[in-house]
Amino acid sequence: MAATLALPAAHLVEVLSLSIVVLFVLLIGVFASLLIMRLVLSRREARFEAIKESIRPLIRDLLTSEPDPRNAEWKVEHLVPAADYHELEQVLLENARMVKGPESDVLTYIFEKMGYVDEDIRNVRYGRDFKKAESAFHLGVMRSTRSVPFLLRILSEPDERVVFSALNALAHIGTPEAVDGVMDFITGERRIQSSRVGEVVLEQKKAFAPLIRGQLVEGTLPPERLGFLIDLSGAIRDVQAGPVLLGYLASPDDALRSRAARSLGLSGDVGSCEALMASLVDHSADVRAESAESLGQLSCTDAIDGLTRALSDPQLRVKMSAAVALTKLGDEGHLALTRRLAATEEQERGVVAEVLGAEDVRMKGMPGVSRA
């Protein structure tokens, strides 16, 4: 029986040998070419970096001594070899990200005059996804107002990176048209998952604030979107949003009420104290906790009684928020808190002891204590 196995086995070995040799040669080839590619790339990168390094002092000099954009551009055009066009762009972008104000205007002028804006707009219109995203990003750094219409157009692209780059750029540029475009996107149908969209808005707080308020007043958006805008309102600390947020404090939706409670504390509108005090007995624990926290942030001394009562809330996090809030309400608040060390409920006692104990330790933290 074994003999009958011998022949097919031998055949199999032959076939396998051949295929394995082919495979290995292929893979070694891949490996070798990858290494060669790496060598070539690192050589190229080193050269790129060297050229950039030679350009940097010139740009630094310009930014710190040449206030006139036209002179600055003239110098750049005549002192940097044309061959170093791309390296120059990188150095200019590096600097554009660091500066604002008159120096930024000089750079924007140079970007425009030397054709970088044109190139990037071309990529935004016709390039492939990654190039689109990268160029959109650059246009934001360059603060090119001319590119706004093109950036607005790519907001409807399917690729999320492209859309996020465009949003980012529009927020950086900050013209009314750009800001409107961003708002339209945020309140529109499409939502890209990135929570960094909110960060984008922080770029132009003053410009976005009235638009966000307007949308909240209208209140026609789906609840999830409204919630996001409520969060943004708090994030940009818009004190003028107080009244409209108060409206949401009375919303039938639990999540919206709690987000409104939180944002009211961040907004700084002390006119909301009364309403927040009323929310201390809301049926949702989240709302109660956020209201307590906000009352502390707004220093609502009238709320001391309400917060003291909230110390016996069934939910631990409400107790904690109330206790912390009381520490922010001056001597009277502290007194009210300290009295509750004698509370009958164990958890309440524990929370009060914890908050007072922690505060005590913080007080002991002296500035300049030498650290190991």
Partner: protein, 483 residues
């Protein structure tokens, strides 16, 4: 010339071919994983150019991170570890150091270094942990909390940290790993870009042996001297970088390293935290997450980012390496057995159909098969059942193919990710890629087979293992000195 005679001949020849097939299968799977890894790495590097990490501002929208450092008898390094954690670049985070009933002066060192004062704290326990003896906060750093707890093992300690945490993202680190200052920024990115589906993110753990460390940062990446360290570096590139990246693209990643892992806090609480009765708690948790989320049909993803976030010392004494690998293998077996139901179950998608079978047959049973294979090939040659040609063939898939896969690991690192600045390092690593497959792998196979055996015979003695140090390498002076 084949000259098989009788029943044994057939058996041995068949087994030889089966083992041959095994080697082809395992190495080809690694190959496939690498292709996926290369593509993923390319995309990651490209995206990095678009994102400015420094733009994560201190806004109320940035999720808060809780960094948990479990410590057991870490008196020599705990102060530095905590300091390194406190110095991380991130807008809002807290550092929670948890003492697992240490018998040395871990607590005393921390109290002294950070002027810790005991406070009372009301702690709820959404996940199970041993009794908390004391809670301390620092007068110097207002985002540092220290928990003293009765001994319960690493998983228990991590759970205690989770219970006390208030962040949206939980990051677990080892007390003796060195964390990059940008680590939190990098690991938080997937949570920000895909907030609804990201439940866990693992980062690359690199080997710090041989590197220059200044003021807690790795300032120069170099290769160490010595066989063990280098061979492990190559192994890490193949198994921990390449393979994991590959699995992550299919959402089939089975382990997020305990040395540096990030989790969504709500997701962690939902699956019940860490299990305290297993040696491989990091792997078991991830497998449980896969099982839970797939069973409930929720959209989720567990990522692996190739950016280095954490550096660790690998053991260089043979006994330490052996005991570390023994512990890993046992942990893997425990986790796999605990989640056996996922195996080949289409409900669990890529995890059940791809990565679990891979781990089961190649990582768990694999060493046994390999050992058997070496024995059988020797027999076949001794009795002349299969010719010299087959021997070469066998060696080429067992060793050469493996070398090529290791080389691809180096290529992935060297080309796509470029964390080794010197080309000379790549040459040295190529040399060790050969050694990794010719010698190291076989020794490893022996250890892992032994682990398999001891798992089944010594199962009742798990209490013993609790008292072991958390990491395989023990603290200095055994460790290789870092510059």
């Amino acid at each position: 010339m084949m000259k098989a005679n009788d029943y044994w001949g057939v058996v041995i020849i068949t087994i030889n071919f089966l083992v041959f097939g095994y080697f082809v299968a395992i190495n080809t799977t690694y190959l496939a994983l690498f292709i996926a890894a290369f593509v993923s790495a390319g995309r990651y590097v490209a995206r990095k150019r678009l994102v400015d990490l420094d733009e994560l501002f201190r806004s109320p929208l940035t999720p808060k991170v809780s960094v948990i450092i479990p410590a057991y008898n870490e008196e020599t390094g705990i102060v530095e570890s905590v300091r390194a954690a406190l110095m991380l670049k991130y807008p809002r985070f807290e550092v929670i150091a948890v003492n697992d009933g240490s018998t040395d002066s871990t607590i005393a060192e921390l109290v002294r270094a950070y002027d810790l004062r005991q406070v009372t704290k009301v702690v709820e326990r959404p996940v199970p942990c041993a009794d908390i003896v004391g809670v301390y906060i620092s007068t110097v750093y207002d985002n540092l909390i220290f928990i003293d707890k009765e001994h319960g093992g690493k998983a228990d300690t991590l759970n205690a940290g989770i219970n006390v945490s208030t962040g949206d993202i939980i990051v677990t680190v080892d007390a003796d790993s060195l964390i990059e200052p940008d680590a939190l920024l990098k690991i938080a990115r997937p949570f920000l870009e895909k907030p609804e589906e990201t439940v866990a993110v693992g980062g690359v753990v690199r080997v710090v042996n041989g590197c220059t460390v200044t003021a807690g940062n790795v300032t120069d990446v170099r290769l160490p001297h010595g066989f063990w360290a280098n061979v492990q570096i190559v192994e890490y590139l193949r198994a921990f970088l390449g393979a994991r990246m590959g699995w992550s693209t299919m959402n089939a990643l089975l382990v997020v390293p305990g040395a540096f892992g990030a989790f969504d806090r709500d997701a962690l609480l939902e699956v019940g935290g860490y299990r305290r009765d297993t040696v491989g708690e990091d792997m078991e948790l991830i497998m449980r997450m896969h099982q839970y989320f797939r069973k409930t049909g929720r959209k989720y993803h567990i990522w692996f980012i190739p950016d280095p976030v954490c550096w660790t010392q690998v053991p260089v004494k043979i006994k330490q390496v052996a005991s570390q690998r023994d512990r890993w293998q046992r942990g893997m077996i425990e986790s796999l057995r605990a989640h056996e139901t996922m195996l080949f179950n289409p409900v669990y998608g890529t995890v059940g159909m791809l990565s679990m079978p891979f781990y089961f047959f190649f990582e768990m049973l694999g060493p046994v098969v390999e050992l058997l294979g070496y024995a059988v090939i020797v027999l076949a040659q001794a009795f002349g059942f299969l010719g010299l040609k087959f021997l070469w063939l066998f060696l080429s898939v067992a060793v050469l193919y493996g070398i090529i896969v290791s080389l691809l690991g180096i290529a992935l690192e060297g080309v796509a990710l470029q964390h080794f600045p010197r080309v000379r390092s790549l040459a040295k690593m190529t040399f060790y890629a050969v050694l990794e497959n010719l010698g190291y792998r076989q020794v490893n196979t022996w250890w892992r087979t032994k682990a398999y055996v001891t798992y089944y015979t010594r199962k009742t003695k798990w209490g013993d293992m609790e008292r072991q140090a958390y990491s395989g390498a023990s603290p200095s002076p055994d460790k290789e000195p870092i510059a």
